[in-house]
């Protein structure tokens, strides 16, 4: 602790010297940044004061504050001198108004959905996943049947499906990106690690549901993949997407094509967990669904379920974008109002 006080004294002296020897405004700002700016050495000391014992906290705090006000006074004095000198020096030059806006391209804006989607994709690409696509007009077989959702099964109620007016009647607009799992596994042998982004459709429309929206699906199959691996991967993903310290939890749930299944909740980014309208007072926000690929699915693609295990996960891009940007009405995404787009 006495070390800290001594260090403050040394820093003050160094800082004062740097200020008085500054020849230009930027030298001066450099000195401020190093010693008493927001990330300066003295500010760092002040930031860490809270961890000290009460008695020490008072002494160090007082000493650091005094040092800072000393330095600030000296800074202001020197700034005046330099500016005055500058004004005198500039009088001899031709001057333009550098504060006038620049000339140049008017930048366009990213759509927040594609922004969020490309960030999600980038994270999984870094984690070793490759991209696969699939058709949006999909066969009933891929969208349901092969994902262990037979006809006349209540699980079909989980998604309101658009059907195409087509002979045979087995074409649907895909209700999720999961059919890409089947299509990819039909043509690949393990190990596979695939991410599948794209538009999906459900017959539903209100402020949190849009008839067209976007998902990112991901899955991995290999000899030794476990649910613990799934937890590890998604924990890493959430850390990168929502920040280092935001807690998350895995909660058992149900999807016909995974077992065991889970939903992942993150600590509510709006209220921090104390409960609000967005998280319906639970303090948690559901962010994605996942699970171990159901052995029944392997039956459809000819993988041996005793030999291979794998996981799959899927998330709604709009939902994540809404949370990141504080957007409460999903319909805004599809109105393409320039006043909306220009904010991103």
């Amino acid at each position: 602790m006495p070390d800290t006080i001594e260090r403050i004294a040394i820093l003050t002296e160094e800082g004062l010297r740097a200020i008085s020897s500054a020849k230009t405004e930027s030298d001066l700002l450099d000195a401020k940044g190093r010693y008493f700016g927001k990330k300066g050495a003295i500010s760092e000391i002040l930031k860490n004061v809270a961890s000290l014992a009460l008695e020490d906290r008072k002494r160090v705090g007082a000493s650091a504050n005094e040092a800072r006000s000393n330095l600030e006074a000296s800074f202001a004095r020197r700034l005046g001198e330099i500016r005055e000198k500058g004004r005198r020096a500039r009088e001899g030059f031709e001057q333009i108004d550098v504060t006038l806006p620049g000339r140049g391209p008017r930048l366009g804006h990213r759509h927040p959905i594609s922004w969020t989607m490309s960030e999600i994709i980038a994270i999984f690409q870094r984690l070793g996943f490759s991209i696969r696509g699939g058709p949006e007009i999909e066969k009933d077989y891929y969208n349901f049947e092969a994902l262990n959702i037979p006809k006349d099964h209540p699980a079909r109620d989980m998604q309101d499906t658009f059907y195409l007016d087509w002979p045979g009647g087995d074409l649907v607009l895909r209700t999720h990106t999961s059919p890409i799992q089947i299509r990819a596994m039909e043509t690949m042998r393990p190990p596979v690690r695939v991410i599948a982004p794209g538009a999906v459709y459900r017959c539903d429309s209100d402020i949190t549901h849009s008839p067209m929206f976007h998902q990112v699906e991901g899955f991995a199959v290999d000899r030794t993949i476990t649910m613990a691996d799934l937890k590890g991967l998604l924990t890493e993903f959430c850390r990168m997407m929502f920040g280092e310290s935001n807690p998350l939890r895995f909660r058992p749930s149900f999807f016909p094509f995974t077992e065991p299944s889970a939903e992942v909740d993150i600590r509510c980014v709006i209220c921090g967990g104390s409960g609000c309208r967005v998280c319906k007072d639970s303090g948690w926000l559901e962010i994605l669904g996942c699970g171990m690929i159901d052995p029944a699915v392997y039956g459809f693609v000819g993988y041996d379920p005793e030999e291979y295990t794998g996981f799959a996960f899927g998330m709604g891009v709009e939902r994540i974008a809404m949370l990141r940007h504080g957007i409460s009405d999903i319909r805004l995404f599809f109105e393409n109002d320039p006043r909306f787009l220009s904010q991103f």
């Binding site: 160094e14 230009t24 405004e25 930027s26 700002l29 000195a31 190093r34 927001k38 500058g86 500039r90 030059f93 031709e94 001057q95 333009i96 108004d97 550098v98 504060t99 006038l100 806006p101 620049g102 000339r103 140049g104 391209p105 930048l107 870094r126 984690l127 006349d152 209540p154 699980a155 109620d157 989980m158 991995a220 290999d222 030794t224 476990t226 649910m227 613990a228 937890k231 590890g232 991967l233 924990t235 890493e236 895995f250 909660r251 749930s253 149900f254 077992e259 065991p260 319906k280 007072d281 171990m292 052995p295 295990t309 940007h325 957007i327 109002d337 006043r339 909306f340 904010q343 991103f344």
Partner: protein, 801 residues
């Protein structure tokens, strides 16, 4: 689905509080989306008795009530008409706060003091509307808090059941789930009664033709019953769980549906032709009226319940109008059956008719519980109604074996989940679930799964039970194979820099890569012009050549040499950028090294463009590109400060870029002396950005609601002294009023017309309010504020055209 805490406690006497149940169930996969205390807001309301009702002396429509809560006597002014002396009522005394937020105070109403309020059901949040105040049962004890007196000292859990867990669509099912979590015991209530009526076979008959679609059909008959409303407890529980009370018979079937998850149907036995039941599919399409009064188009293959003459119910979906229990009904046949899920779902879907009953049958109803449910119904009913129970019962398919034996390997659970599960942990879970385990010591275990768990058919289903009931939070977080890559800010940094680079390439800049070491000799030759004392530079002790002796303190010289080379190769328009590091000695850390993005701009603004002329680039071109880069790096609220700080830039034509006190870069014309030293004939512009400082605020953009009210635009032209910084003018106009949304400069000129030493600047201002359309007067007042600012603060004079 809704479940009452007190009802749940009848099946499992759990130590968990309602909130704890909410958390525990949610974390076991049965999501409890809300948990509401029903007596909320009734804490301050007491059961009271009206002693007398007198007319209000000054108001015809009001009454003066004298009320007692057993201790004191209160005078209450009341606007309702449905009360009389002796009635037991709900009294909110002054100071109370009601569920709807209403604060009760002592008030004088038309000259009469009122010491509180007599509450209606609506005010207490018990009904959508109510005709008068709430009148309680006459025997309710006066002086007690209201909530327990009316059964509202309870909690209502709202549970979201996934399609695989049809077994949880009942109080019993949820109780089993609680028991599986806590290890507590589920208790099935007694269901016994005396059979005092005639033998059932003498008054009714039951047959099942299609046993594949109806594996079990249980029934009992009661006679001599009177149809009346159910007692309050039954009615209240039904209503709170979303079912409308009708009469004692219909209510008891609905009560059992909610309690045991067994849909039941009550037929008026005397309206069943031939007093008989047959379960079989419809052979031909026909029309049938269900008890909601709708004529349904029955297709062939749909499973129906028939009497001797025709259909009387759509099996498992809805009963028929023709055999409905009515006021005069006295003999009832209770049906409690198990129907095949797919058949019910298909019928319900084709009829477009989903009922509480079909919803449960689709998801699977416990075939082993049908008989118990009828017995429980009769037993419960006997507690509040008089009737005779026919002796015996029908139970077709009652001898079926509905349990399944499934192989299970603990090692497989470990392999799928990635956590070691001991034999003990596995047997514990199975025992809490009530799944008997048979471990012979050889080969997989055999787990016997009771009939109600429709979702458990395979080993993986058992593994899921092990995982969820041991808690997902006990599963470790590992990473497939090679271990988790450790990403940092650097990854993000790389991506953002790549975006800015892509932009520069699109804008016609080529990327240069120069050596990090520069010539110390050259540096010394230019002396202070380079703005960095060479003694502050990091030097190499064994340079590869005389031209590469020190680490560059900024990126200018490399790019400037690139321009020089280009010109010598007859390329007269140069746009180049470089991403690289600057190095030097520093006060604190000893030395620094810092990533920078720099570009140089030389020649014509639009080379090779026939329509735009051959104007040379100027400061504002360089500034425009710089602003774009900063925006791409997510850098906001920056300002440009005229300065002399960088000697390598022309004073008067260069600027520092500031962001909350930090310098994050500089932009300007390259100093003439340097250009001539390198024999570069025309002006060159240069900018350098300290990337990390510029990027330091990395928060997702927060969306601000779009303005709904129309904007007003105002153009203002003003003549200023030449030295007035237009950027400052813009900033101060914006700060004048929150209604000023945008200020744009659309014209600047100097010239004889306005006199030397002066410039004319034209602004366009967008004025818009968040919550209203602005009036002319408001717009005018804002306009006046702007004009005053321009004239008084900046010495401007407004041009009128």
């Amino acid at each position: 689905m809704k479940v009452l805490y007190t009802w749940l406690k009848e099946f499992v006497d759990t130590r968990l509080s309602p909130r704890e149940i909410q958390d525990a169930l949610t974390m076991a996969g049965v999501e409890v989306s809300s948990c509401r205390y029903l007596g909320e807001g009734m804490e301050d309301v007491v059961v009271s008795r009206i002693l007398g009702v007198d007319p209000h002396p000054n108001a015809e429509k009001l009454s003066l009530c004298r009320v007692t809560d057993g201790k004191g006597e209160y005078r209450i002014v009341c606007g309702a008409r449905n009360m009389k002396a002796g009635d037991v009522v709900a009294l909110a005394r002054a100071g109370a706060r009601l569920p709807n937020g209403m604060q009760i105070g002592k008030a004088k109403i038309r000259g009469q003091v009122s010491e509180g309020m007599l509450c209606s059901e609506q005010e207490l949040g018990l009904a959508e509307e109510s005709p008068g105040i709430m009148i309680l049962q006459a025997d309710t004890e006066v002086g007690n808090p209201l909530a327990p007196a009316i059964g509202m000292d309870d909690w209502l859990l709202t549970i979201e059941i996934t399609p695989n867990r049809g077994d949880c669509l009942s109080v019993l099912g949820v109780a089993r789930e609680v028991a599986a979590i806590t290890g507590e015991q589920v208790v099935l209530p007694e269901a016994s009664f005396a059979e005092t009526g005639p033998p059932i076979g003498e008054i009714a008959s039951v047959a099942v033709t299609h046993t594949d679609l109806c594996p079990r059909y249980s029934a009992r008959v009661i006679t001599d019953v009177t149809i009346v409303p159910s007692p309050p407890l039954i009615q209240r529980r039904l209503a709170l769980c979303g079912v409308r009370p009708i009469n004692n018979i219909v209510d008891i079937t609905n009560y059992l549906l909610l309690e045991l998850g067994q849909p039941m149907h009550a037929f008026d036995l005397d309206r069943l032709a031939g007093n008989r039941i047959d379960v079989r599919t419809s052979g031909i399409p026909r029309t049938f009226t269900t008890l909601d009064g709708t004529a349904r188009e029955i297709q062939s293959g749909m499973l129906l319940i028939w009497d001797a003459e025709g259909p009387v119910a759509v099996a498992g979906v809805m009963g028929g109008e023709n055999t409905e229990v009515l006021g005069g009904t006295s003999r009832i046949l209770f049906e409690s059956a198990h129907f095949a899920p797919a058949s019910i779902r298909s019928t319900a879907r084709r009829l477009g008719l989903s009922s509480e009953s079909s919803y449960r049958f689709e998801r699977g109803v416990d075939p082993s519980g049908t008989m118990y449910a009828t017995d429980r119904a009769v037993a419960l009913l006997s507690g509040f109604a008089d009737f005779k129970v026919a002796s015996g019962s029908f139970d077709i398919g009652g001898d079926g074996e509905y349990r399944r034996a499934i192989p299970f390997r603990p090692a497989r659970a470990t392999r799928v989940i990635g956590r070691d599960y001991s034999d003990r942990e596995c047997t514990d879970v199975f025992s809490r679930l009530g799944f008997p385990v048979n471990d012979t010591g050889e080969g997989p275990w055999k787990i016997t799964v009771p009939a109600h768990r429709f979702d458990i058919e395979r080993e993986i289903d058992l593994i899921e039970e092990i995982a969820r009931l041991n808690g997902y939070d006990t599963i470790p977080t590992t990473y497939p194979e090679s271990g988790a890559p450790d990403f940092s800010r650097d990854d993000l940094f790389a991506a953002e820099v790549e975006r800015a680079s892509e932009f520069l390439r699109t804008e016609g800049f080529s990327q240069a890569i120069n050596f990090s070491f520069v010539s110390g000799r050259e540096w010394e030759k230019h002396g202070s012009l380079l703005g960095f004392d060479s003694s502050d530079a990091m030097r190499l002790s064994n340079p590869i050549s005389e031209e590469a002796t020190m680490m560059r303190p900024h990126l200018l010289m490399g790019l400037l040499h690139n321009v020089e080379t280009s010109i010598r190769r007859f390329v007269d328009d140069v746009r180049m950028f470089e991403v690289g590091k600057a190095f030097g000695k520093s006060f604190l850390e000893g030395h620094f090294e810092e990533p920078r993005l720099a570009f140089v701009l030389y020649g014509r603004r639009m080379p090779g463009n026939w329509s735009m002329g051959a104007d040379p680039v100027d400061f504002y071109d360089a500034k425009g590109v710089t602003e774009s880069i900063l925006r791409l790096l997510g850098c906001e609220s920056i300002h440009f400060i005229p300065s002399l700080s960088r000697p390598f830039l022309e004073p008067g034509k260069s600027s520092e870029i500031g962001k909350s006190g930090d310098v994050i870069g500089w932009v300007g014309a390259v100093r003439r002396e340097l250009l001539s030293a390198l024999e570069i004939p025309g002006p060159a512009y240069y900018a350098e950005i300290r990337i990390q400082e510029a990027m330091s605020s990395l928060r997702a953009v927060q969306y601000r609601a779009i303005q709904k009210f129309p904007p007003v635009f105002r153009d203002i032209a003003c003549i200023f002294p030449l030295g007035v910084p237009v950027g400052d003018v813009l900033a101060m106009i914006r700060a004048l009023s929150p209604e000023i949304r945008e200020v744009e400069v659309f014209d600047v000129f100097t010239g004889e017309k306005i006199g030397t030493g002066r410039k004319s600047v034209a602004f366009r201002v967008r004025i818009q309010a968040e919550d209203r359309t602005l009036t002319d007067a408001e717009v005018h007042s804002i306009h006046t504020k702007i004009v005053n600012l321009l004239e008084n603060r900046f010495g401007g004079s407004i041009r009128t055209s």
